[in-house]
């Protein structure tokens, strides 16, 4: 009932489409950038889909994905990365760095790398931040007799991974600690992944749970990024929200495939597989 009530209100919200005319934001493509040392340059395409000008700025910082205690991916940022950290943030520049995108306007941003001399072969990382806000800062709201007006403006940021590769780089992953259990109406799966090689492991983890007869009863597929090591948690919806008692087998595969990224930006590695016997009471 509460869901339907919220739904009804949300429907009304969707119908208030004149508000869309105040949209401010930016569309970014691609959402992951790879730069090769031989060209030392890349590009981003920005587009303002709104009907108002958008102030856009670009910046870089150093950070890499980690997982929290719940298995959710988070970004660990390092304000002053040491020389032992493969940071490219300090020698990457965007041109232009600031711009005003008019409604429906596109802009290509050039990314130029100026790495230090004698940079060792390897992969270096940075995060690109694309920030956008409306060209003006209106204060909305209606004043009462006290003369107080209140408004909160929206600003949006997109944080993208950037990898700079010099020389031959390779990646793979080691999987261990596979565990699983039913939590509510889902199967929850945990896995410890440690990157091997000289480059970040960008890929996908797929899992399938089969019952005693070999019939697949639940699956999941989730992108992963392993820069050092992570302990991600995955969930698979159970049929009818539960499983009958009995033996089950969970199979997990980690591959360097990604549906959302261009294949030429991915480093290939041999798939890693693991499995687990489960007996549900």
């Amino acid at each position: 009932m509460r869901t339907l009530s919220i739904f009804g209100i949300a429907l009304a919200a969707a119908l208030m489409l004149p508000a869309v005319s105040a949209a401010q934001g930016v569309l970014v493509a691609p959402h992951a950038v790879v730069i090769d040392h031989r060209t030392r340059s890349g590009s981003l395409s920005l587009y303002n889909p709104g009907d108002q000008p958008a102030e856009v700025s670009l910046s870089t910082f150093f950070g890499y994905p980690v997982t929290d205690s719940s298995g959710n991916f988070d970004l660990r940022t390092v304000e002053r990365p040491g020389t032992n950290m493969p940071s490219a943030a300090g020698w990457l520049e965007a041109f232009p760095k600031r711009m005003v995108l008019q409604p429906k306007e596109r802009q290509t941003v050039r990314l130029l790398a100026r790495p230090p001399q004698a940079l060792p072969d390897g992969e270096y990382w940075a995060r690109l931040v694309v920030s956008a806000k409306g060209g003006s800062v209106p204060v909305s709201g209606v004043s009462d007799s006290s003369g107080i007006t209140v408004g909160l403006n929206l600003e949006v940021r997109t944080v993208l991974p950037l990898q700079y590769r010099k020389g031959a780089v390779a990646t793979s992953v080691r999987a261990s600690g596979l565990s699983a259990g039913v939590e509510g109406d889902s199967l929850a799966v945990r896995l410890h992944l440690v990157r091997q090689g000289t480059a970040a492991y960008i890929g996908t983890v797929r899992g399938a749970l089969a019952d005693g007869s070999g019939r697949t009863v639940a699956t999941f597929s989730s992108p992963v990024a392993v820069y050092y090591d992570v302990d991600p948690r995955f969930t698979a919806a159970l049929p009818d929200g539960k499983l009958p008692p009995g033996p089950y087998r969970l199979r997990v595969e980690v591959t360097t495939e990604r549906e959302d990224l261009a294949p030429e930006t991915l480093l290939a590695a041999r798939p890693v597989r693991d499995s687990l016997e489960l007996h549900l009471p």
């Binding site: 119908l15 869309v20 209140v150 403006n153 929206l154 949006v156 944080v159 991974p161 109406d185 992108p223």
Partner: protein, 169 residues
């Protein structure tokens, strides 16, 4: 069928009477992101507004409010996973350095996917979420809040900024 996880995966239930709503959500999203697959967009659609504020009386706007809630739209490629994080102010800045406190409750954010059968889920805007764009490739994210003007709140205009950051891993 219900597909849910604490990581923010979209909750999906079949409900034919929701189709009309999904069309309304999907069409603007498609209009905003018409072309390449490998792109991500985040757009601030509507500012969070409080309307009339009376001194000494807290004023709240829920995330499902049809005109006053703040609204963002996020689009991303199918199967991708992002982190969604709000940066929220503690107060709005007014004339002469005056401050107007604002707070955000644990149910002051709401997300709706664009896929058929999507249903709204509420969440705490102070916590991060990691939704996977499967089956939806667009989410509308709404936010509300509460302002608490003091009895002697100085008249004038008060403003602040809410930032929504999406991180691609």
């Amino acid at each position: 069928m219900v597909s849910a996880s604490s990581t923010g995966a979209l909750v999906t239930i079949p409900a034919a009477n929701l189709m009309r709503f999904q069309l309304f959500v999907l069409l603007p999203a498609l209009a905003a992101a018409p072309s390449a697959a490998a792109q991500v967009s985040i757009t601030g659609i509507r500012d969070l507004t409080f309307g009339q504020v009376i001194v000494g009386i807290p004023s709240s706007v829920g995330p499902s409010h049809p005109t006053k809630s703040g609204q963002f739209r996020i689009t991303a490629p199918l199967s991708s996973k992002v982190q969604v994080r709000f940066t929220l102010p503690d107060a709005l800045a007014g004339p002469g350095g005056a401050q107007l406190p604002i707070s955000f409750g644990s149910n002051d954010a709401m997300a709706i996917g664009s896929a058929p059968g999507s249903t709204p889920i509420t969440f705490n805007p102070k916590a991060t979420r990691n939704p996977q764009f499967q089956p939806s490739t667009a989410y509308d994210v709404f936010i509300g809040g509460t302002v608490t003007p003091a009895g002697n709140q100085q008249p004038g205009s008060y403003a602040a900024t809410i930032t929504l950051t999406i991180t691609n891993f």
